[in-house]
């Protein structure tokens, strides 16, 4: 199935099981270029697994993933889906930026080296090119003065912004954020959201998992609600926070979070 030209990512009926737990249950989702999707849902509902399935950090059991119209990650051999070659998967991942809850910066590299690592090692850019990009990205996340320090000296918010810069340095087509602020002290959440918002304004396509409803409302084109691995509801934020509230589960969930 070829999807519309402006669709960056298309998930078709994907399912992932861990033993008896169905972490993703037949999810179908299309993300158009420039679109901002926010995924919400209770703990264990499969949000992280869904993001991880997108860049094949998790191998799915059924379904297909299309990136810019092409099926990626798996090849069908004799009717069975098997994982693509590591090389192809790496190439796909390099086009998808991912930001983790725990930052996962490389502690043994300076901030600049963290950001240069991908461009140099994966994209085979020269050091000079990579450094230029890295400095640009640092400017974007407003941390130009921290280029030479090690991550351990940064605050949580600064760490997350470096992580965003590191992902951006790969010049990704889409960004995935998995609860980017949930490991942060409350007063540091704002700076990370601001960075994401400014990215959104530049037209970056992204999928964000978050529990911050205010932020969801502000940034999202569409809000997706997941429960027990399945997509239960999906709507633009205005509609989501009004109409969908009639769904008791969603209403309860949002009530609990606020």
């Amino acid at each position: 199935m070829k999807t519309g030209e402006n669709v960056i990512l298309h998930l078709e009926n994907i399912t992932k099981k861990f033993g008896k737990v169905t972490a993703i249950d037949q999810v179908t989702l299309s993300v158009k270029a420039g679109e901002r999707i926010v995924i919400i849902g209770p703990s264990g509902s499969g949000k992280s697994t869904l993001l991880r399935a997108v860049n094949i950090l998790e191998e799915i059991d059924h379904g297909r993933i299309f990136f810019k119209g092409d099926p990626v990650g798996y090849t069908a051999i004799k009717g069975k889906q098997i994982l693509d070659s590591p090389k192809n998967i790496s190439r796909l991942r390099s086009k998808i930026g991912m930001v983790f809850q725990n930052f996962n910066l490389f502690p043994h590299m300076t901030v600049l080296a963290n950001i240069m690592e991908g461009p140099v090692t994966v994209l085979k850019k020269t050091k000079n090119e990579a450094e230029k990009t890295a400095r640009d990205m640092l400017k974007k996340v407003d941390l130009s003065d921290k280029w030479q320090v090690y991550p351990a000296t940064l605050s949580g918010g600064q760490k997350q912004r470096v992580a965003i810069a590191r992902a951006l340095a790969m010049n990704p087509e889409i960004m995935l954020f998995d609860e980017p602020t949930s490991a942060l002290d409350p007063e540091l959440v704002g700076e990370v959201f601001n960075t994401i918002l400014s990215l959104a304004k530049e037209g970056m396509t992204m999928i964000i998992v978050t529990h911050h409803m205010g932020f969801a409302r502000e940034v999202a084109d569409r809000v997706v609600f997941m429960e027990k691995g399945a997509m239960v509801a999906e709507a633009p934020p205005e509609k989501f926070f009004s109409a969908c509230m009639e769904n008791k589960r969603i209403a309860d969930f949002i009530q609990n979070i606020l």
Partner: protein
């Protein structure tokens, strides 16, 4: 004092009487020992020695005359050396020396008498001076052996971390059979004595048609053994790095190999240095085991010199050399530890 002296006399008199009776009873030949026959002199002296009466033995041995020019003189030498030994046993050093000089007068080259004089002279010198002399005497040869000890240590220090990394990655490999092989290597080499391993490689393998020089066998044995140990340590180090690091590396498009080389393994350095340092210090000492497969390193040279000179100081000096090595290594490793991976402290 006087009283003690009396008792002493009484005792020795008692002994003399006892001895005389014994002689009469069991060694009738002794009482009539002809002075002229060397063989019977020696046998008589031996009997006196056996009975513990060294003084009488010395007297008996004195019956062997200075040799005529036309005899070999061996009986004379033998008797005087034995006399010297007996005086030595009685702690009469001067008289023992005199007996030795009797021999050297006629046979200036005689090794036994010469060695005896040297030994007697040594006993008069205080311990610490002797020890210092022994140091200057034995250290050069021991250090020659120590060169091999260091060579074995350094070579193994180069090979085994590589082997260990290979085994560690192997154990974490997706290929079950390869992971199993690496597990087996670790289990086997950590579960059997290094001594037995060296033995097998050096003495056992030739029976299967594989023959190594001692040095090669030593390096193979040490390297395999230490690779197995380091393998577990390195695996522990790699597994102690959070899973998130691998995922973050993969997420920016790195392959497994790239992630390992650029992200995971560099982070293990700091954590691995202390346990690896400990292993290397153990290694210095374990090189002593290759002395059993005909390699003349520090332990073996000490052994050889101890065998030649029967001098305990050799062992003490060797211990000092090992201590110097292990201490220096410890200090060096502490230094390196402080320098590597400072990023975690900033």
């Amino acid at each position: 004092m006087v009283k003690q002296g009396v008792i002493h006399i009484h005792r020795s008199m008692g002994r003399v009487i006892l001895y005389a009776l014994l002689c009469l009873a069991f060694f009738p030949s002794l009482t009539t020992a002809a002075v002229s026959d060397p063989a019977s002199v020696f046998s008589a002296a031996n009997n006196f020695i056996a009975a513990g009466d060294y003084q009488k033995a010395i007297e008996t041995l004195g019956a062997i005359p200075k040799p005529d020019p036309n005899t070999s003189g061996s009986d004379f030498v033998k008797s005087r050396i034995q006399t010297a030994s007996l005086y030595h046993a009685l702690k009469q050093t001067k008289k023992a020396q005199a007996a030795c000089h009797d021999v050297l007068e006629l046979f200036p080259d005689n090794k036994e008498a010469r060695n005896f004089l040297i030994a007697l002279k040594k006993e008069e010198i205080p311990f610490y001076i002797l020890f210092f002399r022994d140091c200057t005497r034995f250290l050069p040869s021991l250090l020659k052996g120590a060169v091999l000890t260091l060579a074995l240590t350094f070579l193994t220090m180069v090979i085994s971390p590589l082997g260990g990394l290979f085994i560690a990655l192997g154990r974490m490999s997706r290929f079950k059979s390869f992971a199993g092989l690496c597990w087996f290597i670790i289990w086997f080499f950590r579960g059997t004595p290094l001594l037995l391993q060296l033995f097998f490689i050096y003495y056992g393998l030739p029976a299967l048609g594989i023959t190594f020089s001692p040095f090669t066998a030593a390096i193979i044995g040490l390297s395999l053994n230490y690779s197995a140990y380091l393998g577990e340590i390195i695996r522990g180090g790699i597994e102690s790095i959070g899973h998130g690091q691998m995922e973050a590396a993969k997420a920016i498009g790195m392959t497994y190999t790239q992630a390992m080389r650029r992200v995971i393994i560099p982070q293990t350095y700091k954590r691995l240095l202390p346990p690896i340092g400990n292993e290397f210090i153990a290694l210095i000492k374990d090189t002593a085991l290759v002395s059993t497969i005909a390699m003349v390193e520090l332990m073996r040279s000490a052994d050889q010199m101890f065998n030649t000179y029967f001098n305990v100081n050799v062992l003490i000096i060797a211990a000092m050399v090992y201590l110097a090595f292990t201490t220096v290594f410890t200090l060096v490793f502490e230094r390196i530890e402080k320098k590597v991976g400072a990023y975690e402290n900033r």
